[in-house]
Each structure stands twice: as structure tokens, then as C-alpha cells.
């Protein structure tokens, strides 16, 4: 009764450690896909422009040349078709890695993702599993035209059956994508566009914390800032500013939105007694609402103040000239923390 596409370790050696080199997040993602394809012949890659062009963000650069048409291909331009065919491939034992070109262009695939990718294992009582990775460049701060800057994470995180993760830095990008591809669960892999060109020294194949865990990226005593993807950088900048004013901020990079790492986050909140969630997506019904609610339920008697959400406004994502007013900034975050009563 085991599904036919369980991860098989056929003994192909993982690529040896390579010398450390500066690498962008886009390059780290590229290396992760490449290494996964070398290790596992059942990994295939397809989507819009991912072939000879290497994707509009060049994340799949060079893979078509290296692996050829049978493993890397440009698909017709239809997102539901991409996800739907990936499902059929996964049933037959492949492990598809597919790309939705931009966040808002994943919506045509919503039905396939929510009604099938998420539900197939449950529907079939575990007999069919769909080890599919759906890569979605998301969020704003790149001066994109409409439909190129959405943060759609709450849709995916609210869907049982999906795993949703988002790296904030190149090392996590490599490690988490390797883990996502190896996972027997379908993973929505959300890549913060504004961080594609961020750089770090990486000695591949780097491995960071397991992808379903949150990580304390900066320790502090007074406040916990909970961020993910593009806002981790904002939260760290906020903490640096605050330390000049004598406020000690702990920053958590959630990394995984579904599952939510209650243990790590609650431990931090119990320590600091104050928390705020930061995301680009609109506030109403956003991911931060879930974070605030579950942290309050679990840690009410440890809290000195209500959990705040510092997020995008409840409006459609603005055009490039206005996005600076929309995105949470360190100043806005500090101002929000200032609304708490500090005894």
C-alpha cells in the first residue's frame, strides 16, 4: 500500500562540499534544484520560461542545458495545466518541481492546488502521495506592476494538506528547497522576490535547521518580532535601531508558515512577554491573525500586552511609486511598539 514515489535513496552520492563562495538567493535556489536533480532522477522541472531562458528570475538558469528536454521543459502557458499535469506525473512516480511565474499568476491553479494537491493523500487514505514542489516568487518591494507583488501565503497556509515554507536568506533557500524536494508532502515554496539578489557566503551543500522549524535569528529580552520571508530583514533592521534606544528585540524567522512552530515562538514570547507579527500581506484575515490568536491562546498569562500586527494595509498591493507607503518599515514597527504601555 505504500505510494510508489517514496523517497528512494539509491546510493547516488550527494555532491561533495564545495568551497565557500558568495552567492545570491537566486543562485542558491538554482544550486538546490540542480543538486536534487543530480541526486534523484525522478525530479523533473517545468513551468513557464524555465527552459532555455532559465526563468524570469534566472532561478533555473543552466538547468535545461545540463539536464535536457526530458527533465527540464517549458510548458504551455497555463498554470492550472502545470499543476494538474504535475499531479499526474507524481502519481506515476516522478517528483515534479514547478514554477508559478509570479504570486498572482498562481491563482489560475488554485483549484488544482486546493482541491487536489492538498487533498489527494487524505482522499486516498495515504495510498497516493504527491511529492510536488510549487515554487512561487512572492511579495513586493521590487517596483513591480500590478499582479507582481502579492503576498498570498494565507491562502496556502489556511489549506490543510499543504506545507508552506519561505526562506529569508540564501543558506535557507538552498537547504529548505532541498528538503522540500525530498519531502513526500506537497510543498508551496514561497520565494521572496526582493531577497533574490541578497548575498551570503555559502559552502554548498549547506544544511540549516529543518524547514518546519522557526529560528531565532537575533536574541533579545524585551520584545519578540515575528517575521518571515521578505520581512525578516525589516525586523532585523528594526532590532538594530531599537538597540540604539535601549530596547532589546528578539527576531524570529518563521521559515515555515504551515506547520507553525508553536514551540519555538511560544518559548520566545514567554521570555519577552511582548510580540508583534510583521508581514507584507494585508492585515484582515492575514497570516498574522493566526499567529496572534494562537500565541494568545497558548501564552495569555505570560503576555504583558496585546500581540500586534504590523502589516500591509487592507488594500490591493499598490503601484511602484506608492509601495513605500504600504510596506512595513522599521520606523512604523517601532512606532507601533510605542503604543504599548511600558511600565
Amino acid at each position: 500500500m505504500t505510494a510508489h514515489n517514496s523517497t528512494t535513496h539509491t546510493g547516488t552520492a550527494a555532491p561533495a562540499t564545495r568551497p565557500a563562495a558568495p552567492m545570491t538567493m537566486a543562485a542558491a535556489l538554482n544550486a538546490a534544484i540542480r543538486d536534487a536533480m543530480v541526486d534523484d532522477p525522478s525530479v523533473v522541472l517545468f513551468g513557464e520560461d524555465v527552459g532555455p531562458l532559465g526563468g524570469v528570475f534566472r532561478v533555473t538558469d543552466g538547468l535545461y542545458a545540463e539536464f535536457g528536454e526530458t527533465r527540464v521543459s517549458d510548458s504551455p502557458l497555463a498554470e492550472s495545466g502545470i499543476i494538474g499535469t504535475a499531479i499526474g506525473m507524481a502519481i506515476y512516480g516522478l517528483r515534479p518541481v514547478v514554477e508559478m511565474q509570479f504570486d498572482a499568476f498562481s491563482y489560475p491553479a488554485f483549484e488544482q492546488i486546493v482541491s487536489h494537491v492538498a487533498k489527494m493523500r487524505n482522499r486516498t487514505r495515504g495510498r497516493i502521495q504527491l511529492p510536488i514542489v510549487i515554487r512561487i516568487p512572492y511579495a513586493g518591494d521590487i517596483g513591480g506592476v500590478e499582479h507582481h507583488s502579492d503576498s498570498s501565503e494565507a491562502y496556502w497556509a489556511a489549506t490543510p494538506g499543504l506545507t508552506g515554507v519561505t526562506p529569508s536568506n540564501p543558506a535557507d533557500a538552498y537547504s529548505m528547497l532541498r528538503e522540500a524536494i525530498a519531502s513526500d508532502d506537497p510543498v508551496i515554496f514561497m520565494e521572496p522576490k526582493s531577497r533574490y539578489w541578497s548575498k551570503a557566503e555559502l559552502a554548498l551543500p549547506v544544511r540549516t535547521a529543518p524547514m518546519n522549524q522557526a529560528v531565532v535569528v537575533r536574541e533579545g529580552a524585551d520584545v519578540t518580532l515575528i517575521a518571515y520571508g521578505p520581512t525578516v530583514k525589516t525586523a532585523i533592521a528594526t532590532a538594530e535601531l531599537a538597540s540604539e534606544e535601549g530596547l532589546s528585540i528578539e527576531v524570529i524567522d518563521l521559515r515555515s508558515l504551515s506547520p507553525f512552530d508553536d514551540e519555538t515562538v511560544s518559548a520566545s514570547v514567554r521570555k519577552t512577554s511582548r510580540a508583534a507579527v510583521i508581514h507584507e500581506a494585508a492585515q484582515f484575515g492575514g497570516y498574522g491573525a493566526e499567529v496572534a490568536a494562537r500565541l494568545t491562546e497558548r501564552n495569555f498569562y505570560y503576555l504583558s500586552a496585546p500581540i500586534l500586527r504590523i502589516t500591509g494595509f487592507d488594500i490591493p498591493y499598490p503601484s511602484p511609486k506608492l509601495e513605500e507607503y504600504f510596506l512595513p518599515t522599521p520606523d512604523r514597527i517601532l512606532a507601533a511598539l510605542g503604543t504599548w504601555e511600558w511600565s
Binding site: G84, M89, E111, Q112, T124, R125
Partner: protein, 385 residues
């Protein structure tokens, strides 16, 4: 303009596809007579032995369908979409597939599952409301019956493409309704299949209704089969109540796919004799005279006339088929007497491969609630005893 630029235009390089027949292709007519080979569109009438096998399976499948509809009317199944009258399409689909091929069915196609060997108990699991789907997909090479319309067509294309990428010879066949061809996913599936030359067959059962909506409100073109040309694959317009023609065309399409010839679209023109499901009232949208007219074109009766005329359907054969059908009906009724006990805690078991702490907490919560409930019930029983 450079020469190779011109050459890359599809209009120069892709083959011209011929139009489907203007009238539905048939090999045996309403009266049960073999049509003249000159009008058979190049398809040969299957042998009497093959036709007898198809007849047996249609009779058995109908008996099952009628039995399950009866059980539903008795309130013993939550729902059942009947395929009464569509047996020629359903059975031809399954008979055309090899053991390693895959079938991607819809809610309508339970008799196709039955014909491919799924036990009645496993088919009925979902209609009894035990779980969303209940058979062994890899053993039977049948995907779960799809409810979101046309979505399964893309799954079939994906599986067929994977088979091609691996160098296998597995073919996928998907069943679709006429209404489902209006969905975007049907369009995407036809297009992906043709572009990728996937070994897949789309069998559209045009039963002329999508719940209450007739076909002329779904599309403005002449036939569904005509659409195939627009995607660059052959389309076949077939009499969906002539199992001989359906079998000849669908098995040829399966062979084409298996031999690297790419996808085909087959439209079987048929009629949904029953309501959409037991909760539907067809008198609100169609005339009983239409239904009566189609009753006169019954796929089983038509083949029966032919088989009697060529002398292969003997009384002994008939009795044997009836016995098989009645045995199956009895087994179907019998399986309803067994109640599957499903542990409610299994609700949490198959959502993820990777265990989740928060889900384990919810499972424990439910386990506790059930235990408390049972303890309270036991106490009440004890007190009243």
C-alpha cells in the same frame, strides 16, 4: 526573413488533421444490423467473440447500476450518479485499456471501475460516506473518481507524459462529460496533451446534459469532437450507444497513443437515462418523450439484436450472463450489510506524510472527547440498568 524562421511556424510543419465524420460513426445500427464497411470510417467491426464479451460486461454493469440506484432510493447510499444508458462508452473505455494503462474517471463512471475489477464494496465506500474514495489505485491503475469537473483530464495528461518521459508504454484514458468540456482545465488538458504528444485518450461522454443544462448552452460548435482539430489532435465523433464503434475507435486511439502517435479525443454521443443524481428532478428540464426516444436506442438491446442475428448469443450464454449479473447484484446487496467501522481518529492520519504536533494535539482532543462521551454514556446505561 531568415529561412528557418519561416520553417518554425506551425502552419508549415504541423500535419493537417482531418475533420471528424459529419454524423456519428457507427458499426451497428439501431436495428442491430452491421453497417456497410464503406460507411464505417475505416474501422472494422470487432469479432463476434469480442462483441459477446462487451455485451456480457454491459449487462453485468447495468445490473450493478440498477442495483445501486435502488439502494440509493432506499436511502442506504448518500448519493449515486447513474450511468444507465451509457454502458457502451464506459465498457468500451475499459475494454480498450491494457493492465498497465491508467484510467482517470469521474463520479459518473462507477461501472467503469467495476468492469476494471474494483470490488463493489470499494466502489461504494465513497457513496456510503465512509471516506472520500475507497479502492486500491495502484492495483487497479485507476485514479480516484474526480468531482471537480475536468481536473482529472490534466492528471491523465501528466501521468501519460511521465510514462513517455520514462520510456514506458503506459497509456492514460480519461472520461469527461460534455459539460466538463467547457471548463478551462479541459482546454488546458487538450492543449498540453497535443503539445507534449502525450499518450492519452480523452473520452467525452456526451450524454447531452450537465445536470440540467443542455449541450447547446455549453458550446456553439457542431460537435465536441470538432474541437480536437483546434488543438492539433484527431477527433472522432462516434455513436456512443454503439459499443462496437466505441470499442473500435477507442482501442485504435489507445494503440495510436501507445505507439507514439499522441493524443486523441473521442466523443461518444449518448444519453443520460437517469436523473443526474438521486437528488435531481429531470422533469424540470427535459421532456419524457426525449427520454423515451433514447430508450429505443438502448446500447444493450442493439448489440443483443446483432449477436442473436449472427448466432453467438445462445440461450445458455444468456443464462450464464444473467447468473453473473444476479450474483453481482446479490454481492452488492450483501456488502451493504457489512458496516465498515472507521476510527474517527483516522481523520488525522493521512493529511500529511510528515507528522505535525498541532494536528496530534487536535487528534488527542477528539480522542478525549470521544472517551468522555463514551464514559458518560456508559454511566447513564449503568444507572438506568
Amino acid at each position: 526573413m531568415p529561412h528557418d524562421c519561416v520553417m518554425s511556424l506551425n502552419v508549415e510543419s504541423a500535419p493537417v488533421i482531418t475533420q471528424p465524420a459529419p454524423t456519428p460513426l457507427r458499426l451497428i445500427d439501431d436495428a442491430g444490423l452491421a453497417v456497410d464497411p464503406s460507411e464505417a470510417g475505416g474501422f472494422a467491426l470487432p469479432s463476434p467473440e469480442i462483441l459477446l464479451g462487451l455485451y456480457r460486461r454491459m449487462v453485468v454493469a447495468r445490473r450493478f447500476d440498477v442495483q445501486v440506484t435502488a439502494l440509493t432510493r432506499q436511502g442506504r447510499l448518500a448519493t449515486y450518479p447513474s450511468a444507465l444508458g451509457q454502458e457502451a462508452c464506459e465498457i468500451a473505455a475499459v475494454a480498450s485499456l491494457g493492465a498497465l494503462d491508467w484510467l482517470f474517471p469521474t463520479y459518473r463512471d462507477s461501472i467503469a471501475l467495476l468492469t476494471r475489477g474494483v470490488p463493489p464494496e470499494d466502489i461504494l465506500a465513497s457513496f456510503r460516506g465512509e471516506w472520500h474514495s475507497g479502492y486500491d489505485y495502484y492495483q487497479h491503475k485507476i485514479a480516484p473518481q474526480a468531482t471537480p469537473l475536468a481536473t482529472q483530464a490534466l492528471h491523465a495528461v501528466g501521468l501519460a507524459t511521465a510514462s513517455k518521459l520514462k520510456g514506458d508504454h503506459t497509456v492514460a484514458l480519461t472520461l469527461l462529460g460534455d459539460g466538463a468540456t467547457s471548463e478551462g482545465d479541459a482546454h488546458e488538458a487538450f492543449n498540453f496533451a497535443a503539445v507534449w504528444q502525450a499518450p492519452v485518450v480523452f473520452l467525452v461522454q456526451n450524454n447531452q446534459f450537465a445536470i440540467s443544462v443542455p449541450l447547446d448552452k455549453q458550446m456553439a460548435c457542431r460537435t465536441i469532437a470538432d474541437k480536437a482539430i483546434g488543438y492539433g489532435m484527431p477527433g472522432y465523433f462516434v455513436d456512443g450507444n454503439d459499443v462496437a464503434a466505441m470499442y473500435a475507435v477507442v482501442s485504435a486511439a489507445v494503440d495510436t497513443a501507445r505507439n507514439g502517435g499522441g493524443p486523441s479525443l473521442v466523443e461518444g454521443l449518448t444519453y443520460r437515462m437517469e436523473a443526474h443524481t438521486n437528488s435531481d428532478d429531470p422533469t424540470r428540464y427535459r421532456d419524457s418523450s426525449d427520454v423515451d426516444a433514447w430508450r429505443g436506442r438502448d446500447p444493450i438491446e442493439r448489440l443483443e439484436k446483432y449477436l442473436v442475428s449472427v448466432g453467438v448469443l445462445t440461450d445458455a450464454e444468456r443464462a450464464d450472463i444473467t447468473r453473473e449479473a444476479e450474483d453481482l447484484a446479490a454481492a452488492t446487496r450483501e456488502c451493504m450489510t457489512r458496516t465498515a467501522v472507521i476510527d474517527p481518529l483516522e481523520l488525522f492520519e493521512h493529511v500529511y506524510a510528515t507528522p505535525r504536533t498541532a494536528l496530534a494535539e487536535q487528534r488527542d482532543f477528539l480522542a478525549n472527547e470521544i472517551a468522555e462521551h463514551e464514559a458518560a454514556a456508559a454511566k447513564t446505561t449503568g444507572e438506568s440498568a
